[in-house]
């Protein structure tokens, strides 16, 4: 109030990020990205390394995917809650979310190379085997099973005529009450015999196949409605189509408002975002079920989607803090963003540190306490040997340390300190994702607990995806104004007070 800032003092068309200022960095990112991607491609071409590399690539992909997903989430939340504080930083959230369509390009190895997805998601191979084995079995056993069935029908017919004549002779001297009882019995016997001899009961290739699959792998057979290749491809495409449409739509409204300042666009974004949020939740949940939970299709956790979401929102807020500080250091957004914005971003990070801990503990606690065999495998693997050290490290460093650090107001309002916490959070998120994906690799590939030397693949894949995405992200910053310059609530946002 003492120094009320007016939007009229800001440049009329916002601030544009001049990518020429960072051309050196861009060049470096691009060359590093291309070189490491080529290296990854070479590794993918090698039959022996392909399966190992698949896990590295999934780890790198999923880390950056969760960041971009978080960008979309904050955009949606910002619009849906009609938030005033965040207008100044909303464009950055949109920019982060805009990486989602690009991530589809990085997800292509999973769709294009059968060996890659086969190495990651064993259910695909096992399902194929189960089906072909059942087909072979059905083809070779159709005759014998049909003969068996015919034999059974013959026996049943003999037995049925015996029973019927017995009942009919009994009927002759029965009282009316007994008669009704006998008639009922006869009807039941007739129905049972008719069912057995009917055409439907005759063994077919299909019925033998289904029965055989149920016998050989009941879990995979029962989950077949979800875990089948056609539906998997459909979902894979659907995730990216939906996410791309959501972010493109909101971004389009936002950018068009930069030109005409029409406040109806804000209203429309708010209304649509409320409907988009449930859709976002469904896509997020099923995407991480498909890509991470199904690394072991026998295991399941009902907290899985929200666990990944918690880490995603948290670490993308950390990325936003870092990007914001980077831009401010380059001289942008100085009049738009103040320490008050940092304070709120710090508070949101703090909230999500607690939320992450709450969700991950709930997931662990119920499984640990109930101790049911089919639920424990995930944690059994990560609570033994060196992985246990990582698990404990996550508890201490992903929760306790940032929780205590962010309790202090000074840390949240000082950009330098908040950046340090953000870097820490991102490092922890990397470890979290590593801890989710990589322990599956050794056992799945039959190479012990850890595949020796594979960590180089992990670093390489991470650098490749990271450098190229950073390059694309920085370039996308230059396209439009760095903040929504004609948003009706911009003035409220730049005068933010906690």
């Amino acid at each position: 109030m003492s120094a009320h800032k007016s939007v009229k003092d800001l440049p009329e068309d916002g601030e544009k990020f001049d990518i020429k200022k960072v051309s050196k960095l861009l060049g470096m990112l691009f060359s590093v990205g291309i070189l490491t991607t080529i290296a990854c491609a070479v590794i993918f071409l090698n039959q022996e390394w392909r399966a190992t590399m698949a896990y590295s690539w999934l780890f790198a992909f999923i880390f950056f995917f969760t960041l971009a997903l978080g960008g979309l989430f904050w955009t949606l939340l910002h619009n849906a809650t009609n938030s005033g504080w965040g207008v100044a930083v909303r464009r950055l959230m949109e920019n982060l979310g805009l990486m989602l369509p690009w991530l589809f390009v990085f997800a292509l190895p999973f769709v294009v190379i059968p060996d890659v997805r086969g190495a990651l998601w064993e259910w695909m191979g096992e399902r194929r085997e189960m089906i072909s084995e059942a087909e072979d079995y059905a083809a070779s056993h159709l005759e014998t099973e049909t003969a068996e069935w015919e034999e059974k029908v013959r026996e049943a017919r003999a037995r049925f005529s015996e029973v019927r004549s017995g009942i009919e002779s009994g009927m002759a001297k029965a009282t009316p009450g007994e008669k009704a009882f006998l008639q009922e019995k006869l009807d039941a016997e007739t129905a049972a015999f008719d069912a057995l001899k009917s055409e439907d009961a005759a063994p077919t290739v299909e019925s033998i196949k289904a029965h055989h699959m149920k016998e050989s792998n009941v879990l995979l057979y029962n989950k077949g409605g979800f875990l089948n290749m056609g539906f998997w491809f459909f979902r894979f495409i659907a995730y990216f189509v939906i996410l791309t449409l959501l972010i493109r739509f909101l971004r389009g409204l936002s950018v068009r408002q930069d030109a005409d300042g029409d406040e109806k666009r804000t209203m429309l974004a708010r209304r649509m975002s409320c409907g988009f949020l449930p859709l976002f939740a469904v896509v997020t949940t099923f995407a991480v079920i498909d890509w991470l939970m199904c690394l072991d299709y026998t295991w399941f956790s009902t907290m899985w989607g929200v666990y990944l979401f918690a880490g995603s929102a948290l670490s993308s807020m950390a990325v936003l803090v870092l990007v914001l500080t980077y831009l401010r250091n380059l001289g942008y957004l100085r009049d738009v963003v103040t320490e008050e914005h940092y304070h709120i971003m710090g508070k949101l990070m703090h909230a999500f540190v607690i939320f992450w801990a709450y969700i991950s503990f709930s997931q662990y606690f119920l499984i640990w306490y109930a101790n049911i065999t089919e639920e424990t495998r995930f944690f059994l693997m990560r609570n033994t040997g060196h992985w246990n050290t990582v698990s404990i490290l996550l508890v201490v460093c992903h929760f306790f340390i940032p929780f205590l650090a962010l309790l202090q107001k000074r840390v949240k309002t000082t950009p330098r300190l908040l950046c340090a916490v953000s870097l820490w959070m991102i490092a922890m998120h990397i470890i979290d994702m590593y801890w989710i994906v990589i322990p599956e690799r050794g056992p799945s590939l039959g190479a012990g607990v850890v595949v020796p030397g594979a960590i180089f693949f992990d670093v390489l894949a991470f650098t490749a995806v990271g450098a190229l995405l950073a390059y694309i992200f920085l370039r996308s910053l230059g396209k439009d104004s760095l903040y929504p310059c004609r948003d009706p609530r911009l003035e409220e946002s730049i005068n933010l007070m906690n």
């Binding site: 109030m1 003492s2 503990f361 606690f365 306490y369 101790n371 107001k409 007070m497």
Partner: protein, 188 residues
């Protein structure tokens, strides 16, 4: 009531100054702050953003109290469970070990007691720092003051402030834009 007699017997509680608007009271608060008064307060029907700063209020010690209150809660729950479940009378549940590895089972109680102790510290901390509960307050004797919960914006400078002077403070309040200045007696 004989005004002069009470005034000599007891110093007044202070001056109650009414202001026209949020903006006026905010500007005035900054001036009172700069004049160096210590015992004074602002009353308004709703919280005014940035008033803390305009009044020159520092950070409350409450957050520290709550931190230690919460920490005490966590420690209490941990000691209570650890002592009874590990040292005193181990209860074997589902074959789980009765040692520190069972700590996940303690977390819900640790969590709850942390919240409980923090909440109590907030409640009793606020009451203690505000010297509550009290049955009456000298300001309630002013008819005009009733409007603090409706549409009145007030600044009160208390008589116990070392800079307080009956004439100068009144003049000062009028000078910084008070619509009406009223002397409130301490009738307790």
């Amino acid at each position: 009531m004989n005004g002069t007699a009470t005034a000599t017997a007891k110093p007044p509680f202070g001056y109650l100054a009414e202001f026209e608007s949020v903006r006026a009271v905010y500007k005035a608060a900054e001036k009172v702050r700069d004049a160096g008064f210590k015992h004074w307060d602002v009353h308004s029907p709703f919280p005014i953003h940035g008033m803390d700063e305009a009044m020159g209020l520092g950070r409350s010690v409450l957050s520290w109290l709550v931190f230690f209150g919460g920490a005490t809660g966590a420690l209490t729950a941990f000691i209570l469970q650890g002592f009874t479940q590990i040292a005193l009378y181990p209860t074997i549940v589902q074959g789980k070990p009765a040692n520190l590895n069972t700590i996940p089972a303690f977390f819900p109680v640790i969590f709850e007691l942390t919240i409980l102790f923090s909440a109590f510290t907030v409640l009793f901390g606020i009451m203690g720092l505000n010297q509550l509960p009290r049955l009456n307050h000298p300001l309630f004797s002013s008819k005009n003051f009733c409007r603090f919960s409706d549409d009145g914006f007030f600044i009160v400078i208390e008589g116990r402030d070392s800079k307080f002077s009956k004439e100068k403070t009144k003049a000062f309040l009028e000078e910084i834009g008070a619509k009406e200045v009223e002397l409130v007696e301490d009738d307790a």
